[in-house]
């Protein structure tokens, strides 16, 4: 053993750059937000950990045969992880409020228009078309769809896009209310909407996921992998006969994959890929996309209020995004600020589940148009 070997012990230290330190600090910030503020800890904690590990020099974890290399190749390049997560989301989602109020589907669609506004903004900022579309998807605050779309269209932006989508998910209660107050009048916020109870039969609940899958498959084939997995999970749930599969999808599979996906996304946050002006632009454009989606939903809510002769509270439009159930809860809270006897929750839940489907569809449309 000579001095040479001894120096090898400290090779990590000698290769450390300021970029590594900045990114480790960023990873530390994500971990802090997860632990101290409980901002989406299930996601931000693994992402933060992945980020710190990936920025330790000389570990080999990013190599093709390293941990992150293997995970990236197996789960993200193949789009496997987001798809498995969708089975779990489907198994956890109750589409009842949407089936009781089918017109809420319109809001789930309207909430996606911000994508195109952001796409135009991103093009102006010299992102190419594929990158711009991937950035636009952030607006629906749908992590798995954002990852899915950008891993196909803009793999180089995967890190910042997924970090933006997941971070803004936890900022829904902060970002949405000011926009909601700005774009609605007090009179509109005061509109009461009683719960419309309409029993949804078991048959309807079972046929819904099957019908949506078939329709999507025929109309937007590129959305089929995502919608198909989402609806498979929901079919498991509504069938009522496969409790163990529902449990496995919504607990074991979803939790394991969330951990692996979070680590892998975190590992893409290396100094060379992340410390660029583009990352900052993506974070800003992501907020813009989110604000535009919220505004589009609200404006469509105002339109519905107009055509129903003042019986529709436009606040519900803001729930037409994918962040479930945060967005529906925000609608309920903002409505109650004006009138504590106003309960918009169930309507907003309908719009919110429609938003979940809508953002996946939008992802599929974007892929169909751009991935060829």
């Amino acid at each position: 053993m000579g001095w040479h070997n001894l120096l090898d012990l400290f090779s990590g230290l000698s290769h450390l750059t300021w970029g590594h330190l900045v990114m480790m600090a960023a990873g530390g910030l994500l971990i802090y937000l997860a632990i101290a503020r409980e901002y989406e800890p299930m996601l931000l904690l693994p992402i933060g950990a992945g980020c710190i590990l990936a920025n330790l020099p000389g570990t080999g974890m990013l190599d093709e045969q390293g941990l992150f290399g293997i995970l990236m190749k197996a789960g993200v390049d193949t789009e496997l992880f987001p798809l498995l997560i969708f089975v779990g989301i489907g198994a956890m989602t109750d589409f009842g409020p949407l089936l009781e109020n089918p017109r809420m589907v319109l809001l789930g669609a309207a909430g996606q228009f911000g994508i195109f506004g952001t796409l135009l903004l991103a093009l102006l900022l010299r992102f190419n078309m594929n990158q711009a579309a991937s950035i636009g998807i952030i607006g629906a605050i749908d992590g798995p769809t954002s990852i899915y779309v950008s891993s196909v269209l803009a793999p180089d932006l995967l890190g910042p896009i997924s970090v933006a989508a997941y971070s803004y998910m936890s900022l829904v209660p902060i970002i949405q209310p000011p926009i909601m107050r700005l774009l609605t009048t007090r009179r509109e916020r005061l509109i009461r909407m009683p719960y419309t109870s309409r029993p949804v039969s078991r048959l309807t609940r079972i046929l819904f996921p099957i019908t949506v899958t078939l329709l999507t498959g025929l109309l937007v084939p590129k959305a089929s992998p995502l919608i198909g997995m989402l609806m498979l999970g929901n079919l498991l749930r509504e069938s009522g006969v496969v409790e163990r599969l529902v449990g496995a999808s919504s607990n074991e599979i979803a939790n394991v994959v969330t951990l692996l996906l979070g680590l892998t996304i975190g590992s893409t946050m290396t100094a060379t890929r992340f410390l660029r002006l583009d990352t900052l632009l993506i974070l800003i454009l992501g907020i813009a996309a989110f604000a535009l989606d919220t505004a589009a939903g609200l404006l469509f809510g105002k339109f519905l209020n107009l055509v129903t002769g003042g019986r529709f509270n436009p606040l519900i439009g803001a729930a037409g995004i994918s962040a479930f159930p945060m967005s529906a809860r925000v609608v309920q809270r903002v409505g109650q600020e004006e009138d504590f006897g106003n309960f918009l929750l169930m309507h907003a839940m309908g719009a919110n589940t429609a938003g979940q489907i809508g953002s996946v569809m939008a992802g599929g449309v974007v892929l169909a148009l751009l991935a060829g």
Binding site: Y195, R311, G341
Partner: protein, 161 residues
């Protein structure tokens, strides 16, 4: 759609209400349709929650388009004789987590009556009016459907000291 039979004096009216909290409320009295405008006049004005037509007064109800109706939605009972104005109902289905009032309590407008958990969100159900609780119809852990009574208030007109 909710159906009520209201007896005023000796005459019984059949009343159908599509949706008690819509604006305007569409009501059919013996098949004749009326639109009723509900105006929220703030919670501190008890008069706002008192209907102009009270079942206790034996006068023929004259349904006019601008009649006031209570903000607490009516609730049918088997006999159809129940006071329909003073029941606070569950605004959506869910589970009662806690009840903050007892019979005989004087509550103020906006005071929490109970907490209803719906879609995993805790919702504070507040009293729309000042009044004395005559009956608490739910207890913690109870599952309620939309329209189930939560509490009943004492008859209007009885002022707390």
């Amino acid at each position: 759609m909710r159906r009520y039979r209201i007896k005023v004096g000796n005459k019984t009216y059949s009343i159908e209400i599509d949706d008690p909290q819509a604006s305007p409320v569409r009501v059919r009295v013996d098949g004749r349709p009326f639109e009723v405008q509900v105006e929220w006049e703030g919670a501190d004005d008890e008069a706002a929650v008192t209907p102009e037509v009270r079942p206790a007064q034996p006068s023929r109800p004259s349904p006019v388009p601008q009649a006031r109706v209570p903000v607490t939605a009516p609730r049918p009972s088997a006999a159809g004789e129940e006071d329909v104005t003073d029941t606070l109902i569950a605004p959506m289905p869910g589970t009662i987590l806690s009840v903050a009032v007892r019979e005989g309590d004087l509550v103020q407008p906006g005071q929490e009556v109970c907490v209803l958990e719906a879609m995993k969100m805790k919702n504070s159900i507040r009293s729309p009016r000042q009044g004395i609780i005559a009956e608490v119809a739910v207890s913690a852990g109870a599952t309620v459907a939309y329209g189930d009574p939560l509490v009943r208030f004492q008859q209007p007109g009885i002022r707390p000291q």
